[in-house]
């Protein structure tokens, strides 16, 4: 809808770093999709000798962990969990944030006051503490972690959406819609929202990255789902052997770093591509 998609991609691809980020993301997505084919059996199964360094045995290209599990299989299956949690947590945060921000910005007055105070209440609680509290109460399943991360990540999106709505609300085209008798809900959904979304989309892509970090932290602390292979959990399990077999923590650590870096680069690229002021450069 925004000026044609081909133009959007061309502007995005102009940013070489963003393109690199996209390539990394696609590799991870490919890995996640291929995981069941590459490693059809449970990745948490013991398959070989313990603490086998990477590149020593062609069966275990990334080595094995402290109890002899295949790190490559854990990374591949972990990519699924990481991506799913990241994407769904970001979607949850965007849904909550946009709804609250839009309501606050559109209605203003006491609605705005109330919703913004609520947002501030969420902002003052440290995110990780909040997530750990929710997870330890509800239990460490993938679904609960996703919801917990979504619930703590929406505040920035809400504030941004509110700011966009505040400026858009007074634009003449909104007045024109009111003048032709368009109902409020239609103005909000069909007129204002599409104009408010581009910066929000950038923030949502960054929220995926922070959700991945949250998940890693939860798993690192051993509060994650014990049935699910996860990068953060592997980092946590490897930390006791950090002096001898540091690669156990380093391999998933690098995977997390690359993934977060890729998402940030994509966020920058989207920002350039969606920002109309930079379009003609």
């Amino acid at each position: 809808m925004a000026g044609g998609t081909p133009g959007l991609f061309r502007r995005f691809a102009r940013n070489r770093a963003a393109l690199l980020g996209l390539v990394i993301l696609l590799v991870v997505v490919g890995l996640a999709l291929a995981a069941p084919t590459l490693y059809p059996r449970n990745p948490l199964r013991i398959v070989g000798p313990a603490e086998l360094w990477p590149l020593q045995d062609p069966r275990f290209p990334l080595g094995t962990d402290s109890i002899g599990r295949n790190i490559a299989a854990i990374i591949a299956h972990g990519a699924r969990a990481t991506l799913l949690i990241g994407i769904f947590a970001s979607l949850t945060a965007t849904l909550i944030g946009v709804t609250i921000g839009a309501a606050a910005g559109w209605f203003g007055g006491w609605v705005d006051e109330l919703l913004m105070r609520l947002t501030e209440m969420f902002q003052v609680v440290p995110g990780l503490v909040f997530v750990l509290t929710i997870v330890s109460i509800l239990g460490g399943t993938v679904e609960n972690i996703t919801i917990a991360v979504g619930v703590v990540s929406w505040t920035g999106i809400a504030r941004l959406t509110r700011a966009e709505f505040l400026t858009l609300r007074d634009r003449e085209f909104v007045q024109a819609c009111r003048a032709m008798g368009m109902p409020d809900w239609r103005i909000v959904l069909a007129e204002v929202l599409p104009n408010a979304l581009p910066p929000v989309i950038v923030l949502s892509s960054l929220a995926v990255a922070s959700a991945i970090l949250f998940e890693s932290a939860v798993s690192f602390l051993g509060l994650g789902d014990p049935q699910v292979a996860s990068w953060g959990r592997l980092v946590g399990e490897g930390r006791t052997l950090i002096r001898s077999s540091w690669y156990i923590s380093a391999v998933p650590g690098v995977a997390i770093m690359l993934m977060v870096l890729a998402l940030n680069l994509i966020g920058d690229g989207l920002n350039d591509a969606l920002n109309p002021k930079l379009r003609n450069r």
Binding site: A2, Q175, A176, A179, M180, G181, P276
Partner: protein, 331 residues
Amino acid sequence: MPLLQAHSLGVHFATPRGLLRAVAGVSLAIEAGETLGLVGESGCGKSTLGRAIMRLVPIAEGTLLLEGQDITRLEGASLKQVRPKVQMVFQDPVSSLNPRRRVGSLVGQPLSVAGWSRRDIADRVAELLAQVSLPRDAAERFPHEFSGGQRQRIGIARALALSPKLVICDEPVSALDVSVRAQVINLLKDFQDRLGVGYLFISHDLSVVENVADRLMVMYLGRVVEQGAAEAVLRRPAHPYTHALLSAAPVANPRLARARQRVVLQGELPSPVNPPSGCPFRTRCPFAEARCAAEVPLLRPAPGDGQLVACHFDFTERFAAAADAATGVSA
């Protein structure tokens, strides 16, 4: 029966510094096929008055009649029913068009709100785009692909889509270049001649209003200070503020500009939240006397041509003499 009638209309806004009477006691009437020019400087309440007539801001006092029907307090479905009769052309050709919609969708919006079928909308949009002289393929393009003048044509097409009876033109040419301005003014005039639509033409630019208005209304700090036939108000102004406005407007004629005696008003617009007592203009009026601070002047017929003026004194002769002196030199 006039198309639109307003009786002592008032619009108030609550501000942190107190109640702002943006429009106070304004009465007006617009006939079908007629243009009422509304002139004043920023902050005089002219845009607010336009939006009040559009029912976009709440009306605090007075009544508003459209074709004899009281629409002052209409809400919901009944308001939606009269909306198509009054439409608006906005000042800013950039912000008045949603940048993410194609031109065809923008122009068709009022039709779609009114429940037209997809095919009827497409036909009507094509007809409207042709009427405002936009290329046939314009419907498929986005507003940013057009120049300011073309965008204003899109806005006009949208306003005329449902064949309104009255169109509020809020500074429709102020953001446009001179050469394009004339195109848009001519277009608006053509539509009026053909469709018999009434205009409330809001502008700060007297030379533009002079070119379009049948009757004229001058506002200052939310109040009407003078109103009447455009010819009369412009040729024989009766209020010192109208006189000053006319005198301050630059004339695109160097000899005339040099010859005439300019009245340059001192000071600036007082705060509308805390307007002066009595006559709102008295703080800048070169002729103000003690009476002006004590009594609010009411609109009354001015001598001669019969326009209405809100001033305690008669300046018509004096202003006319000054004007004749200036044009006499130029001739």
